[in-house]
């Protein structure tokens, strides 16, 4: 790729250059953003859009929790009608999954960081990258319009035959998902090619930052699994429009076949969501402990192992769906294999802190919160993987709590940690660490208060996707709602802390945390071309020569 080898002439990086050229000030005007090929600007645009989707999904979550404050046994007295409630939880799930979590880390942080961590100027296909962004926007518009226009009420899983006979705008929504899928595939393709071909001389596979290992594994899943989702969505649309009789029992189709198709993508998609989060945690634990990562190779291998095993376990979403016994048993066995690489990672992260110098700042606290929450999420997966146990817990609040611990306690918390960690790099501004820590604390407590009671609701038999419930469940539901309000507050504090920094934040030094990966070697925010000359590649977790420099308030690498 020519982009790497072409040295770009840049003013020699001056020490404290307020006037320094950076990607934000490089050019201005609407079109300079809308038509940019710069991976950093594309990353920032993704970030803005994804955060809007998150805010929307979050408000919907609040509506769900507020509605469930009361048992609503008399639907005419309830805040939302049953139909409205169903639309709200469908919208919450669909927006969070398709518009927020799947693209969050790879598309926003990944786009921004991947080329810089590789010491290169851009991704391999910058135009394709911009194309992915517009596909996302297009898919999102399609999707949101179709949902808001008449009310989609199938749940984000679109299970047949309900999705065949529901009056909602299923075809439009499936097309939205289809387009979003292409955005995801192109991003994955771009990252794979970039990592394969554009690593700088000296950066062997095992000198790559672990975040890139995680993004690489994620990209493989995106490229291999997402087409199946596209096919499934097309088949569903064809079933509705043409009545081809593949999923509809009335036409001799098999509704369970849809579940196989759907989860063949959507289970690997769970790893699309969590693997990049694990990558972020590997970076955060090591940088903020100022110490090399414990068991680098095991973490790298376990990312790939999770990506591969992730393809073989989709059937555990269907243990009660009427599969053959042998199928269920095989899927249960395979499901347990995924738990091992995840456990290894947790041990390695904790081990990284041992004998290090642990800075208890905002990103680190989010990372520690991640380990706590993700461990609970992972361990509760053991209950669900055991076949006989799952007969009781399947489709109850236990499952709801379990996947929120993994998706929200895992991916979202890691995403926030990563956002705080790389915020100074992205914006050139330092945030207020005190308020960042406050937000992490509120999010942590609020999160547990929201979802711990849901485990108990689940074991006691409260089914999910219920607009009303029996009186005996009320106390636990109320605890959960209080927790959700608190969680919302915490997220608000986090958002305000970041926004505040944009206007009042101190200028960020080049390397505020003492990281050893390449992104900390260019200025904050990075110049348009990232590096004036290809940076020297060292061990990404060698912290011995990184010293605090009180003059700049950041760290510098001693030569």
């Amino acid at each position: 790729m020519s982009v790497v080898t072409k040295p770009v002439t840049m003013p020699a990086p001056s020490k404290e250059a307020g006037t320094e050229d950076n990607y934000l000030t490089h050019s201005s005007g609407f079109l300079s953003w809308a038509l940019t090929l710069d991976h950093k600007r594309i990353g920032v645009m993704y970030l803005a859009c994804i955060m809007s989707a998150f805010a929307l999904g979050g408000c919907l979550a609040m509506m769900i929790r507020l509605h469930l404050w009361n048992p609503n046994l008399d639907p005419s007295q309830a805040w939302l009608t049953n139909k409205q409630y169903n639309q709200v939880f469908t919208l919450h799930g669909a927006v969070m999954v398709f518009l927020f979590i799947i693209p969050s880390i790879p598309a926003a942080l990944g786009n921004f960081l991947l080329p810089i961590m590789l010491g290169s100027k851009d991704v391999a296909f910058p135009r394709l990258n911009l194309g992915s962004f517009y596909l996302w926007v297009c898919g999102a518009c399609f999707f949101l319009f179709s949902i808001f226009a008449t009310g989609l009420d199938t749940g984000w899983t679109f299970y047949t035959p309900y999705s065949i006979e529901s009056q909602g705008p299923i075809v439009a929504a499936t097309m939205g998902v289809f387009v979003l899928g292409f955005s995801s595939i192109f991003t994955g393709l771009n990252f794979i090619v970039t990592i394969n071909t554009m690593r700088p001389p000296g950066m062997t596979w095992f000198r790559m930052p672990l975040f890139l290992w995680a993004v690489y594994s994620t990209s493989i899943i995106q490229v291999l699994a997402t087409p199946v989702l596209g096919i499934t969505m097309l088949l569903l649309a064809a079933e509705r429009v043409l009545g081809i009789g593949i999923f509809d029992a009335k036409l001799n189709g098999d509704p369970v076949a849809f579940q196989h198709f759907f989860w063949f993508y959507s289970h690997p998609a769970v790893y699309i969501m969590i693997l990049p989060a694990m990558g972020i945690i590997s970076e955060l634990m090591s940088v903020h402990s100022h110490k090399g990562i414990f068991g680098y190779r095991m973490i790298a291998y376990s990312s790939v192992a999770i990506a591969l095993f992730g393809f073989l376990v989709w059937g555990h979403h269907m243990f009660t769906a009427g599969m053959a016994d042998v199928t269920a048993i095989v899927f249960s066995a395979l499901t347990f294999t995924v738990s091992i690489p995840s456990a290894i990672k947790v041990f390695n992260w904790v081990g990284t802190m041992y004998k290090g110098t642990v800075s208890l700042n905002t990103p680190m606290l989010y990372a520690l919160a991640f380990i706590f929450l993700f461990t609970i999420g992972g361990l509760t997966g053991l209950f669900l993987g055991a076949l006989s146990m799952d007969m009781h817990l399947h489709d109850t609040y236990f499952v709801v709590a379990h996947f929120h611990y993994v998706m929200m306690g895992g991916t979202l918390v890691a995403f926030l940690g990563g956002l705080f960690h790389w915020w100074p790099k992205m914006t050139g501004k330092m945030f207020n660490d005190f308020w960042g820590i406050v937000s992490a604390a509120i999010v942590f407590v609020g999160f547990n208060l929201t979802f711990l009671p849901q485990f108990v609701l689940g074991t006691r038999g409260m089914p999910r996707r219920y607009a009303s419930y029996q009186l005996e469940f009320q106390d636990l539901h109320r605890l959960s709602t209080i927790g959700a309000l608190m969680l919302g507050m915490g997220l608000l504090v986090a958002g305000l802390t970041l926004l505040h920094s944009l206007f009042y934040g101190k200028k960020a030094p080049r390397n505020p945390w003492g990281g050893a990966t390449l992104e900390w070697e260019c200025s904050s925010p990075p110049p348009h071309d990232n590096f004036s000359s290809a940076p020297a590649v060292g061990d990404p977790y060698e912290f011995g020569n990184i010293e605090y420099d009180s003059k700049t308030g950041g760290y510098i690498k001693k030569k």
Binding site: G322, T357, F383, S388
Partner: protein, 327 residues
């Protein structure tokens, strides 16, 4: 609030009463996995907090920067969990196979799930919207769905199985305790999914036999028979009756008899016996205005006899004369 969290005296913190032969094994499984999880989780958190405090950044302290690596430790923490999850898998599978292997000589009950009602049919032909079971007998449940996916879930029995259109699914269990329990639909099935509940009554043999002989009788009174059919033929899931002004997924039975009602296709029709009959046999043509986006009602052609339709019409009519006209 706190005492309520611990629920009734005969329930544990986690589970409802153990009311089937499966419950014990599943609750044991839960406790075992819970303790395994605690044994993993607590040391991880303690180590995390200890390292956080002990190795925190502070003036005058500088930790090592060297990456650690300890092969023995890494192999141990990969291999030990592997053995543990193999055990969990094994126990879960054994329990599952027990649940899947039908015993000989069962009391068979046919279940039809239809948005948003359960219908149970017993060996003597009796039909009922609530599930009645004999205690201490192996019961086989034969399930089918008339429309979309549903799932048959009795928490006290710890059993669940999806009801899939286009095929029969089976499950069995043996109730061990007499009493009343909840049955939920646990697979999302549309508007009134959360109201698709039923009660499960477990009787002794005598009580069960008595139930069977009573349940087979259709009421003689035509209005009573209409109500009886309304509860058993899945009308109740969509059309509310007797609750003035309540909005269900379909039009309420109250407030329309003898009046012209607007149709979705345009125009009006008098709500009388003819309209009721046509709506039951050919629902799409009679769709009411304001319900265009509601889930379409299936036709009952061939499922209800003429006299049964008459009974339903009589029941709807009776609702009107019973409730005094509102202002």
């Amino acid at each position: 609030m706190i005492p309520a969290l611990f629920a009734d005296i005969n329930k544990t913190f986690w589970f409802p009463e153990q009311a089937s032969t499966f419950a014990k094994q599943i609750d044991f499984m839960y406790d075992a996995i819970l303790w395994i999880s605690i044994i993993f989780f607590v040391p991880i958190v303690i180590a995390m907090i200890y390292f956080m405090v002990k190795f925190r950044e502070r003036p005058g302290y500088r930790g090592s920067t060297e990456a650690l690596h300890n092969t023995t430790l890494e192999i141990t923490w990969s291999v030990v969990p592997t053995f543990i999850v193999v055990w969990i898998f094994w126990e879960g599978t054994v329990g599952y196979l027990k649940m899947q292997t039908l015993p000989p000589d069962t009391e068979d009950i046919k279940v039809t799930a239809k948005k948003w009602n359960w219908n149970f049919k017993y060996k003597n032909g009796a039909e009922n919207p609530e599930l009645h079971l004999p205690v201490g007998r192996d019961v086989k449940i034969i399930m089918r769905s008339d429309d979309v996916l549903h799932s048959f879930f009795i928490p006290a029995f710890r059993v669940k199985r999806d009801v899939v259109p286009g095929r029969y699914t089976y499950m069995w269990f043996q109730p061990t305790v007499e009493g009343t329990f909840d049955l939920f639909c646990s697979e999302y099935c549309g508007d009134n999914h959360s109201l698709m509940n039923a009660k499960v009554f477990v009787h002794d043999d005598e009580g069960y036999a008595k139930f069977l002989t009573e349940a087979i009788k259709e009421p003689d009174d035509i209005v009573e028979r209409g109500k009886w059919l309304y509860e058993r033929k899945a009308c109740k899931g969509c059309h509310y009756a007797g609750t003035e002004g309540a909005q269900g997924p379909g039009p309420s039975y109250n407030g329309s008899w003898g009046k012209p009602v607007p149709l979705a296709a345009g125009g009006e029709r008098l709500f009388d016996e003819n309209y009721v009959s046509d709506s039951i046999l050919n629902p799409i043509l009679q769709a009411r205005k304001g319900y265009e986006t509601a889930a379409a009602m299936p036709s009952y052609k061939g499922q209800l006899k003429e006299e049964q339709i008459d009974a339903i019409a009589a029941y709807i009519k009776s609702l009107e004369s019973a409730t005094p006209p509102k202002k």
